[in-house]
Symmetry: C2
């Protein structure tokens, strides 16, 4: 297992779900007997498993999943079925060709009643021949945007019988006679989701940090055009537009690193609380993790493409590594909870909190700013309130982001209220306000990121490091204001002259960061082997290695490619 | 040749540059003797050629190209060389393995002087064996983001001698003794660039139209979650967030179609003028085409990814066709003039026009709005001027976009002015204002698109078509205002209450378009064969065909994949 993790560093592989989902799920949800029977062989790679939840017709909405597991007390077995085409399991990594087992999520039916989704261990292939077992229709789902090395699969179950002991029974149980025993708390599964999403935020940081490393190093190697006539072509890093593309992304990569660290810390703290039966902080963390997962993966995905295009034509070559970073990372916008759905989950928590505050409850935690919103954000006060933001002071900017979030939560809450006044249902009012809700969640997450970045500075003792990270934090905060200037103007948080100050200050910060840019990406500490990018080489020796890389292209195995003999020559002869 | 164009409809191929660049360049720049010698064999596909301009170290900045063609009067030959590693020709499509000739752009040296870039016909491979000729080092540059079917290549020339008659001599000439004869006008090549960029704007429309067709059809097939409890899962098209993602893109696809048509018309009109020696409109069209190429390719690329992600997990499968549309289209942001460079070219024209207007010259054409800017956009007038925009009236919105462009051109011009006052050089002042310049070009292009969309409505007689296209145009204009609300607030063109009206009106327009959405993509008239997308099928029979598509996956050729015997089984045996 140790050796395994080094095969392709940082790339997805067929055994990923075995390691990241199958083993942990066994560990968390097995009874002691199941640990013995399944976990040990799985640890030894005799059993290779995956986690089969998503179906062809059903993703985010778990209640919509159609696969059934019906208990037959006569034989003490569950009978698993894919009753429709849309119920075929679809997407699980390693399912197509690699796994011989899967944890299958299915609607549990016993004694004539459906008890919702439960997890079952289903053997898929013969342990001797690897041939699919009777009733198991399994295969690869075909080529994708990325994840070339992973056999994402489909699984159709046709009256597949498994012993009763194959249901994961640590929490819920089905007894021999078919009696269903409920799990103690539904909130237990929240924790895993929070953990996975905090991991994804960390990945957003890494993917962006790698992309910045490649683009910023290459921008210091590449010379192009001229700024001053007659002088040699400057490094493209000297163009203001190039700095404006890359430095805010560099700041973002640092910001997300701190956000990921924070989420991980909070997760571990709260896990401790949970084990002592205290679930009080879980809803907030769950809501926050959903929104931050969406917020960071969207911006990081866009950022990777900006880095790629900032490398010009060579960014389009796979020798840059950027195409691969993009196609593999962008999937995070869709998996583990589609991003828009995630934003709406966060919004649900924000609106609930807003309503509690409006009803006079004192909120605590990160949404406590909503306590003040009723008082401070009266419509008439917008234009009359003196603008207090200082665009050179990070604490003041954190405050501005907070008030923006408060205002946008209020706008969304008011939209729902207005819709309800038109006598539409609660659900339609929600859907008719969804644009505003996503906007509010975005503003909330943006506030959290700026706040955590500012908080991180307080932990840094080294004055040099503190100074350069402060510049990055200010750049991050100001660029967000420029990009969303409408929000800040609309809420009266900034004046028009202040916005011009922001523009001016941003340009100064870019120039200020220029000499440190390469050092700031070197500090991410990705070795060449990890980056696997000709453009991002530490030694800057790009062009020679690009030529070398090209000469190894599969098409160059022969001087005259077979297509000449097969197609071109016959075509020329015919004409 | 006729058959050829049907092999892979709409996909890039090794012979593309032969058809799109090699033949047209021969046609436009050959002497009559060269037509005879090269064009006829090329037309018959005996000669297969490509167009080799870009070098490993040099793209946009043509003066930086390093390949040399030195005339040797003793033998009446040109000697071609790649003097450095960065001078190796890089990227030309079909160069790697397919072409036996190339038009090579090289710095012409004769009688001890360099006369800049000229085009030379260079034989690369034996006409009998297809083996590279002596001194020609040629091959494929390796895998890329997309364009899998194209052998983009490299070419290193080592003292390759070609007869004098291989220089394309319709305009510039080198006589037998080495005397250089200048071409009549440098502006002649502008026309081709304008033409190619207007084609790219058309492609932006097509790529986005295809993506919208796939995403909107699939959103009517896919059911997910619930809006109202107890009711069946709704079509995902019924979610406001989904409409907000897709309908503005649908409007954009229509807008760009009209912009592409307009550019093509203007190009043909101006080509007529040029042939009569009238170049007066060319600079404006050249500048406009650069900016619109960048503006439309950036937004369309982002839009394709929005469409893809709007299809959830299945959008990530290549069965959706969206990954392929993206990787092949996004290259347009980089080729034929990198987008930021394009935006700065447009900005150069805008600033020049602004300065002319400031100096009292009366501008004509599309920049005539800059005539008014000095008078109307005094800083003190911003807050005092009554806001006249009517958010329900397209003509009024066109006016608002115009004033925004005028304001942002002014901001950029003032930034340059301020920099100059700090006593920096003209060139540094330009570079230190580049962010503002790109912003001004964006606003200018956005204005042109809205204006052309509005103008198109005037040509439509059918009331039903006029009505639905008016809705799309209004949606396009209002969504742009919402996205750039900071600009409109900052310039005092809109008030805060009007911005809320814009939000409200946008939501109404989405609901209004919902019943027509599928008809509006059907109207693009892409047959299933052209879309090649399981999700975008006209009959909506998505899931069955997805299963069928998956079963044909290369990995499914055998039930037990060779990787089991090769890796898994030995690994299990070892542990």
């Amino acid at each position: 297992m140790r050796e395994y993790s080094c095969v392709h560093r940082g790339r997805a592989e067929p055994l990923d779900l075995h390691l990241a989902m199958f083993l942990p799920t066994l560990l968390n949800q097995s009874s002691p007997e199941q640990m013995e029977k399944f976990f040990i062989p799985a640890w030894n790679l005799d059993i290779i498993g995956t986690y089969a939840q998503t179906e062809m017709g059903h993703g985010t909405h778990l209640r919509g999943l159609e696969t059934t597991a019906t208990y037959d007390p006569a034989t003490q077995e569950f009978v698993l079925n894919s009753p429709t085409i849309t119920s075929i399991k679809w997407w699980p990594g390693g399912l197509g060709k690699t796994s011989n087992h899967a944890i299958v999520l299915a609607q549990l039916h016993t004694q004539g009643k459906c008890h919702g989704l439960h997890a079952f261990i289903v053997p898929l292939r013969s342990m001797n021949t690897h041939i699919p077992l009777p009733g198991v229709v399994v295969g690869d789902i075909g080529p994708k945007f990325g994840f070339d090395e992973v056999d994402n699969g489909y699984l159709k179950l046709e009256n597949v019988r498994i012993p009763r002991e194959h249901m994961l029974m640590k929490y819920a149980k089905v007894e021999a006679d078919g009696t269903y025993v409920k799990p103690p708390s539904a909130k237990l599964t929240y924790g895993t989701m929070v953990f996975i999403r905090s991991m994804i935020v960390g990945e957003a940081s890494s993917a962006l940090a790698k992309s910045c490393t490649i683009a910023i190093r290459y921008s210091s190697v590449r010379h192009q055009s001229e700024i001053r006539p007659g002088e040699p072509e400057p490094q493209i890093m000297d163009y203001q537009t190039q700095q404006y593309k890359l430095f805010p992304l560099l700041a973002t990569a640092y910001a997300y690193k701190f956000v990921g660290q924070y989420m991980n810390q909070v997760y571990h703290r709260i896990t401790g609380d949970i084990s002592q039966g205290d679930f009080s902080e879980l809803p907030e963390l769950h809501a926050l993790s959903a929104g931050l997962k969406a917020f960071t993966t969207w911006t990081a995905s866009e950022g990777i493409e900006v880095c790629r295009m900032a490398c010009g034509g060579h960014g389009y070559s796979r020798c840059s590594a950027l195409p691969d970073i993009y196609v593999n990372f962008v999937a995070t916008c869709t998996y583990e909870g589609e991003n828009t759905v995630m934003m709406l989950q966060t919004a649900r928590f924000l609106i609930k909190s807003y309503q509690q505050a409006s009803a006079g409850h004192q909120l605590s935690g990160i949404v406590s700013y909503l306590n003040e919103s009723e008082r401070r954000l009266q419509p008439q006060s917008v234009s009359s309130r003196p603008t207090v933001v200082n665009v050179n002071d990070l604490a003041s900017l954190v405050e501005a982001y907070k008030l923006r979030a408060a205002k946008l939560v209020e706008v969304a809450a008011k939209s729902i209220h207005q819709e309800l006044q038109k006598r539409v249902s609660q659900e339609d009012a929600w859907n008719n306000s969804a644009i505003d809700l996503v906007r509010a969640s975005n503003a909330h997450c943006h506030y959290v990121v700026v706040k955590l970045f500012a908080a991180k500075l307080g932990e840094i003792g080294d004055t040099g490091v503190h100074s350069v990270l402060s510049t990055l934090a200010l750049l991050y905060a100001l660029q967000g204001i420029q990009q969303h200037s409408g929000d800040f103007l609309q809420t009266g948080l900034l004046s028009v002259p202040q916005l011009s100050q922001v523009s001016q200050r941003l340009k100064e910060l870019l120039a200020q960061l220029r000499p440190n840019a390469v050092a700031l990406v070197d500090a991410f500490d990705y070795c060449d082997e990890m980056l696997n990018s000709v453009l991002g080489r530490y030694d800057g020796n790009v062009y020679e290695h690009m030529f070398e890389w090209a000469r190894r292209s599969p098409l160059n195995k022969t001087e005259v490619h077979e297509s000449y003999h097969k197609y071109l020559k016959p075509l020329q002869a015919k004409l």
